[in-house]
Symmetry: C2
Subunit: 99 residues, 2 copies
DNA sequence: TTATTATCGTTCATATGTGAACATTTACAT
DNA sequence: ATGTAAATGTTCACATATGAACGATAATAA
């Protein structure tokens, strides 16, 4: 990444990290337990919760799965979940691109 | 990442990549345009859309911001957006951890 | 208190993501 | 059909994420 990361992105990264930590606490799991379930190291999980930029998206998704919120993330990026996406899709896209 | 990534995570990664691409098409933007707005290279953006594992979370968030769906992702991971999170939070957590 | 566990903050070697450049193929408009 | 822009798929040097190990601190229980 050549260009410095925008503040909004940094803030989002930080917030997601805190939310992951909150999820873990709600589930009464330790860093070790979640790391094991996610298949990542405790080091990386701590980086995630710290909002440390640069953690791989895979590690994030694996952690999300370990916390039971993977589907939630996937739906959040689905254009067809928004009125804008549904409205524009019919005009622009020939057909649904994803299932 | 020592342990192989789970199939569900791989599928999620793939799906998010497709969705990002759909968003870009809906907005009638080229790879170059989105990459510029996100502050990442076209190479990385292509890896994202391809669902190529291992792209940094920062790059994903930067791209999400360029597509206008950053907030959507952040709320997707918010425990307080779920009934479970709200219900358990009062019992377990002393106070809200994040704003 | 003491013991036990969890979390934190380092450092370091290794693995891997990143950006750039190139040629090639596809898509789109005229 | 022809020309132009976009997308693709390599390769490569460089930057950086990853996992492990260490000690220190904090939290929890006995």
């Amino acid at each position: 990444m050549t260009r410095p990361v925008s503040r909004k992105v940094t803030a989002a990264n930080l917030e997601v990290g805190e939310q992951f930590r909150t999820w873990r606490k709600l589930l009464r799991l330790t860093l070790q337990q979640v790391a094991d379930r996610a298949g990542i190291s405790v080091s990386t999980l701590r980086r995630i919760e710290r909002g440390d930029g640069g953690v791989s998206f895979q590690s994030m998704l694996s952690t999300a799965r370990a916390l039971g919120i993977l589907e939630s993330i996937v739906s959040a990026t689905d254009p067809y979940e928004t009125s804008f996406g549904r409205a524009r899709a019919d005009q622009i896209l020939p057909e649904r691109v994803h299932s």
